[in-house]
């Protein structure tokens, strides 16, 4: 009897290891696929958003900013980020970098309240002023949703379509206008050849 119990215990322990190993394996696969998106932060946002579109080498900001002493004085940047200074058109009279970026933690955004925010949650920052758009975006009316209409959907961040430093949607080259086939080649349309009728 005792032998039997021990046997069962051994089997149970073995099963436990097998299952836990299997689960771990699955986790590692999941982690790898998610790596591209999450990279540094393990943040889970309220909405399944795409990654913020950083330009090459721009993030993390501390790569460069760790070496600089933070300067909170409002000014036009001339040494670095000149491209942004030139295009900046987002209430530029009243606002500048540190209204959205944090002075001390450059890898974070910052709400008006002072609360730090991950770049993946930038929609909350935009929503501070554009509340109506934010409301529409949350229910999928403003902006594009892809995926399943009755299931899993993917959202785009505001900044995937609007450059945060110059948010007006850029003009596009239109695709070619249509060619109405009815007006192309009359011979194709008519069952009889017009020329042969004329000869008669």
């Amino acid at each position: 009897m005792k032998d039997k119990n021990i046997k069962i215990q051994v089997i149970l322990v073995a099963l436990y290891f097998v299952f836990s190993y299997g689960c771990k394996n699955k986790e590692s696969i999941n982690n790898e696929t998610n790596k591209v998106i999450t990279k540094k932060s393990e943040l889970v946002t309220d909405y399944p958003v795409e990654a913020p579109p950083f330009s090459d080498g721009a993030f993390p900001c501390t790569d460069c900013h760790a070496n600089f002493k933070p300067n909170p004085v409002k000014r036009v940047l001339t040494d670095w980020h000149q491209d942004i200074s030139e295009m900046f058109n987002h209430d530029s009279q009243n606002r500048w970098c540190l209204d959205c970026h944090d002075l001390n933690n450059r890898d974070s955004l910052r709400l008006a309240s002072g609360k730090l925010l991950d770049f993946k949650e930038s929609y909350k920052l935009c929503g501070q002023c554009h509340g109506e758009k934010y409301r529409d975006w949350k229910v999928g009316v403003h902006g594009k949703r892809t995926g399943d209409w009755n299931g899993k959907k993917e959202y785009l961040l505001c900044v995937n379509c609007h450059n945060p430093h110059s948010p007006k949607f850029k003009e596009l080259k239109p695709e070619l206008p249509p060619v109405k086939q009815q007006f192309l080649d009359r011979k194709v349309i008519l069952p009889v050849n017009l020329d042969s009728i004329k000869k008669l």
Binding site: D136, V139, G140, V141, H142, G143, K144, R145, T146, G147, D148, W149, N150, G151, L156, C161, F169, E171, L172, K173, P174, E175, L176, P177, P178, V179, K180, Q181, Q182, L184, V188, I189
Partner: protein, 296 residues
């Protein structure tokens, strides 16, 4: 006087001629099956399966590509609706060509299920002064707005009423479809549609084989032949699988919204309940399920 052509001998001769003509025309089994096929809505599951299989074989032989033909019926409890934000559309025509690609529309002669009309802001929605041929360097142009037109999936579709052979009908999920095997090409439906949303294959459709979309639906984007009418089906091959139509997914400004009108939590219902919506040519009582709204 001897009667040379009795009724009996006439019938005999004609039937003999018909059968021999059929035999001589080299009709193979599948071709004859297709010729004798009944209206799609009267077919049993088994008959549909056989037809789908035949089509897959036929397309494989014709295009040298593996096709997957679906005949998936409407999903329970769905009624599809569509909304388009006029304040967002910039008239870039990305939707037009995404639709052409997804739904295997003929490239030459050209068929487009979506037509984008440019209208003057001063005149408002005014079809008489609209322009589909606009082609500037950049859109949107100052002083204009854009109204993309496609099948409005009317609840009261005049095109269905006029079809003399019942080759077009409204499915339970609200999509008006066409059976290309049953269509006789009379084009009554095109005359009846107030939106110009139906298109006729005047010539044999041409699509580069590498651009063919092999994921097709019997009532939707399967390859058509010369002499049949076609139109937008809300990408029936995608929407019945739970996916958004191709035009929704391509739109760079997110002006296109799609969903289930029977689901109170859907985007489309939110728009109907919270935005000001309009339908085109409301006075005709076609009751479109394609709504335009002004989202700003």
């Amino acid at each position: 006087m001897k009667k040379e052509n009795s009724r009996r001998s006439f019938i005999k001769k004609v039937s003999l001629a018909t059968f021999s003509a059929l035999a001589l025309s080299g009709c193979n089994g599948a071709g004859l099956d297709e010729f004798l096929q009944q209206n799609f809505r009267t077919l049993s599951k088994k008959e549909k399966d056989a037809i789908v299989k035949n089509l897959e074989k036929k397309y494989k032989a014709k295009y040298g590509k593996e096709f997957h033909v679906s005949d998936k019926p409407a999903l329970e409890g769905t009624l599809f609706g569509y909304a388009l934000d006029l304040s967002r559309c910039i008239g870039c025509r990305r939707c037009v060509y995404a639709c052409v690609k997804e739904n295997n529309q003929s490239r030459e002669p050209q068929i487009h299920w979506i037509e984008v009309l440019q209208m003057e802001k001063e005149k408002g929605i005014d079809f008489a002064h609209s322009n589909a041929q606009y082609n500037p360097e950049k859109v949107p142009e100052e002083g204009y707005f854009y109204v993309p037109i496609q099948c409005q999936q009317c609840k009261n579709p005049p095109c269905v009423k006029v079809c003399p052979v019942k080759a077009t009908w409204q499915e339970p999920d609200g999509i008006t479809v066409i059976d290309y095997n049953w269509c006789i090409g009379c084009r009554y439906c095109m005359a009846a549609c107030p939106y110009g949303a139906r298109h006729f294959n005047w010539g044999e459709p041409n699509i580069p084989v590498e651009e063919l979309n092999p994921e097709v639906h019997y009532l939707g984007n399967r390859p058509r032949v010369k002499g049949v009418v076609e139109k937008c089906t809300f990408c029936i091959q995608r929407s019945r699988e739970g996916k958004y139509p191709a035009c929704v997914e391509i739109c760079p400004v997110g002006a296109r919204k799609f969903g289930n009108l029977l689901d109170p939590d859907s985007e489309i219902r939110y728009i109907l309940e919270n935005k000001r919506v309009l339908v085109l040519k409301q006075e005709l009582n076609t009751q479109p399920k394609f709504y335009y709204f002004f989202g700003i």
